[in-house]
Subunit: 290 residues, 2 copies
């Protein structure tokens, strides 16, 4: 039975997790810590946390479940810091956007009988801007939450009985807050999100940057494009800080996806007046069929 | 005073225009004709029309204002058919997506003292699917509606007094239904919409078609991408029939825009781990600033 949760990183995802757990009926304590204390204070005031910690390692030791809700490299840093101070009565999970490196570190640093368990996770939820102030108890409702431990297929993962039970309980809470759990191999995860998440982001960034060059000096013309343009560039508002670690830790898969799209756009460009254009529209229509 | 309007093409835009005129207080008659009569029947049942015509040329002659709400080549065909049968007491306007060819035809076939006036127009409103059944009296509320007669700067456009008055009245109705009128040169119009409308469409089509190839066999994975993916591919549902004429009549500008985006994506791909990526995000953020 999970009764004490610690959230390290109380931005949009961390604070939303706190709100969602409360809304789903979690009655234990939720402590939080954030590198910039104002985000933790905001999360506290919104009711996502019961308390703000000043010593995150002590907070983690006093909790049963520690949720790391930060960019990937920060998560990897915290995994190194937490592994030596936690034990077989602890579970650490995360919401990191790429899973190959985190899942490898989970095998190296956790998931032994005398150590804490680590359950690598990734909820496909977010907004184009971060921050606790945008947190939402419904953020994970209907969203896919991927776990990459099964895919690891690592027979050397041997958890203590206590921590294995925390893993089961935490999975139930993730379902309780409305997420749809998918088990996936970490390498397959990273390839998949390169297509369905990272590619759309980098396309929106590239399109927005290009249009800023083209019509940025005529703000009234930005409105000409209407809803289609707004949607195609909304993700252009995403800050670099949210994407740097993703670009670094999934470079190969993102490069392959971007290259494939460049080729696809060239194909369309060369076939604006041939029947190939109809074939592209038909295939695109197919993707959008329910 | 406009009292008799005829709408040729009662799909999404044509039927929405009828509904919007009614909602804005137009008390005259609105007749309609559509190549496929079921769309006209739907528009009639929705209240967008008072009557469905069987002879569109006669309908046009009996009206003061004829609105051509069809793809560009169909508009050009109708301009040829209407010019000889209408006179200085008539105004023809349109909602065509590209304006260079239509505006040139307007000068050649209309806008002389003994002929009907033609006011080339383009409302930046629509949905990813067409059809009268989706018509909406609010479709044009807040949308930009461009007119390309001023840009034509053509001193040979000499309208009759009566038709010039119809032009002024029609402009007022466009404002009354909530659209924001912009005057623009037809060549500049076509270049602008290549960037802010056609490029987003072809990117959404290419992205959707690519993803259909990549994850189309695993429908459950389409949902992994969440809201960002849904938005970036919504326009992928647009049918080829809505875009064929645009691709044909604005090929050069669309090719230039697509090529520029291909280069931009290649630049991002080559700089996933360099400070250039931050610069791209910063520029994209700038585009999305209000």
């Amino acid at each position: 039975m999970i009764e004490r949760i610690a959230i390290v990183g109380t931005g949009l995802l961390g604070a939303s997790a706190g709100l969602a757990l409360r809304a789903a009926g979690f009655r234990g304590t939720i402590a939080g810590w954030n590198r910039g204390p104002e985000q933790a204070q905001t999360a506290l005031e919104m009711g996502a946390l019961d308390s703000v910690a000043t010593d995150p390692l002590q907070m983690a030791r006093e909790s049963q479940v520690v949720l790391l809700a930060m960019p990937v490299y920060a998560i990897l840093d915290w995994m190194e810091q937490l592994a030596p101070v936690l034990g077989p009565d602890h579970l650490v999970s995360d919401v990191g956007s790429t899973k190959a490196q985190i899942t490898a570190a989970a095998g190296r640093l956790f998931n032994q009988p005398d150590r804490a368990a680590f359950l690598p996770g990734h909820p496909m939820a977010g907004k184009e801007r971060g921050g606790a102030a945008l947190a939402d108890a419904e953020l994970f409702r209907g969203a896919v939450w991927m776990f990459t431990e099964a895919g690891a297929g690592n027979p050397s993962w041997k958890r203590s009985e206590a921590s294995a039970e925390l893993v089961r309980d935490w999975r139930e809470w993730v379902t309780a807050i409305g997420a749809k759990v998918i088990e996936i191999d970490p390498a397959r995860h990273d390839e998949l999100v390169a297509w369905v998440s990272h590619l759309p982001q980098f396309v929106a960034t590239g399109l927005s940057a290009l249009l800023e060059d083209q019509v940025g000096d005529a703000p009234e013309l930005k409105h000409v494009g209407g809803r289609g343009l707004r949607e195609m560039t909304r993700l252009g508002a995403s800050p670099y800080s949210m994407w740097r670690d993703i670009a670094y830790t999934n470079s190969e898969a993102i490069q392959a996806a971007l290259f494939a799209l460049e080729q696809r756009l060239a194909h369309i460009r060369e076939n604006l007046r041939t029947p190939e254009l109809r074939a592209e529209f038909d295939k695109a229509n197919q993707f959008r069929k329910e």
